[in-house]
């Protein structure tokens, strides 16, 4: 869940960005994520969608999906408009499959229905097949992936 500290930190990021020339924005945000402790990273990731010309930060956001720290992953994957607005399809698909893997709730992935592609459906079907072959339970959240009409 987003905490008051994250809201405060996000406000500081927005203020700092407003004071910096545009060509330094990406490097500044990259340093905040790289040098941040866990909640600092989460706060920056939650603020990304609100930054000016937010598409400039897409590589940083995709990279955050590679985190093994579950709260960092959910800061970008859940309750965050950024991926649905800016991720290319392969990155969005990988994020959704990872959410299934780590048990992050798909109901909280913003824009999931609109971004669901045939390829994502195939990946989810393959995941169900792999789990079935392994005799492992299927996460209930796969039902939230609907074939695009």
């Amino acid at each position: 869940m987003t905490g008051a500290d994250e809201c405060g930190r996000a406000a500081l990021v927005l203020a700092a960005i407003a004071a910096l020339p545009g060509d330094r924005h990406v490097g500044f945000v990259r340093d905040l994520i790289r040098r941040g402790e866990v909640r600092e990273r989460q706060a920056v990731l939650r603020a990304l969608a609100a930054l000016p010309a937010a598409e400039r930060f897409v590589e940083l956001a995709i990279d955050a999906c590679r985190s093994n720290i579950e709260t960092v992953f959910t800061a970008i994957a859940c309750d965050n408009d950024y991926p649905a607005r800016h991720f290319p399809a392969p990155a969005f698909d990988q994020m959704v499959i990872k959410a299934l893997f780590v048990g992050a709730p798909l109901a909280r992935v913003a824009g999931l229905a609109a971004r669901t592609t045939g390829e994502l459906v195939r990946m989810v079907d393959a995941y169900v097949s792999e789990r079935t072959a392994a005799g492992r339970p299927i996460p209930g959240d796969v039902a939230l992936i609907r074939r695009p009409s």
Partner: protein
């Protein structure tokens, strides 16, 4: 019987783990270079990591009577960081020539991005140039497609399948891996990847040829005794001793001996434990009486 764990990240484990592994029969390990849980931010940290696998970790293993080998590479996940890839790829040729390096790995796919394609192919070429086998990690997500793409890339590059091990197989990928002529690794994990019971069923179905089993133990919830536990489960299920010896000892030796840096005869004798020894002035001991033994005979 001696056991071989052909994929275990000992740098993340304690000396208690080394002692328990040795007691359970583990006589040799291969430690692949991998990702360390969070992204590294400088090329220099990779160099120090490679040096620790070749130095301190090899020494630590020897202090518990375990032969330690490693594989070096840029791992698939960090292959997506453009600030690191070229620098790490430039480091590798010097380190791939070192004693104790028995393959290029872990390479392969994580997200299956174009950056991963490039890094994977470049490192297969490095393996070829240095006369080393390749250890390939299958992705956790979209694994079957990842396996198909992996085998297609190995074919496209023209890398010899008999010098390739594809690791982290499941029920759905093993038939593909075996049909390709590559060796097939299986990581036995407490909750994910593969477990002992399923591994028994796979060996009952496919036999032991080109099959390897590892613990892939690392900094997460994992178990460095999974090789020994899986051996015991197969024995209890009535799998023939000759098959067990192939899977848990002969196969990893045959595969990694292709590097020319692992002498099967030397492996038949455990390193003599002499805990009086120091590595660059450091001991694994903290005030204990050093354990010292004489070399044991052939196993």
């Amino acid at each position: 019987m001696n056991l071989f764990d052909p994929h275990v990240h000992m740098t993340s484990r304690t000396t208690d783990d080394y002692a328990a592994m040795a007691a359970a029969g583990i006589a040799a390990v291969v430690e692949p270079a991998f990702w360390v849980g969070q992204p590294r931010t400088h090329v220099g940290t990779f160099e120090d990591y490679f040096l620790s696998l070749l130095g301190w970790e090899r020494f630590r293993a020897s202090q518990f009577g375990i032969h330690h080998f490693c594989t070096l590479a840029m791992n698939p996940r960090e292959a997506n960081d453009p600030a690191l890839v070229d620098g790490v790829l430039a480091l590798l040729p010097g380190y791939l020539e070192k004693d104790g390096v028995v393959a290029v790995g872990e390479i392969g796919y994580d997200d299956m991005t174009p950056a991963e394609d490039r890094c994977f192919a470049a490192q297969l070429e490095l393996a070829r140039a240095h006369g080393l086998p390749a250890l390939i990690h299958l992705p956790h997500r979209d694994k079957k497609r990842g396996c198909e793409r992996t085998l297609a890339l190995v074919r496209e590059v023209g890398f010899a399948p008999e010098r390739t091990i594809v690791d982290h197989n499941t029920e759905e990928t093993l038939p593909l891996t075996l049909a390709s002529g590559c060796w097939a690794g299986h990581s036995i994990y407490p909750h994910t990847k593969m477990d002992e019971r399923r591994m028994v069923e796979l060996v009952q179905r496919y036999g032991g040829e080109r099959i390897l089993v590892n613990s892939a133990a690392d900094w997460g919830v994992s178990d460095p005794l999974k090789v020994a536990r899986t051996h015991d489960a197969m024995h209890a299920a009535g799998i023939a001793d000759a098959t067990l010896e192939a899977i848990f000892w002969r196969n990893p030796i045959a595969f990694f001996a292709q590097s020319g840096r692992l002498d099967p005869a030397e492996l038949e004798t455990r390193p003599a434990i002499d805990q009086r020894q120091l590595h660059e002035g450091n001991s694994v001991l903290r005030g204990q009486t050093p354990k010292v033994d004489v070399p044991s005979g052939p196993a």
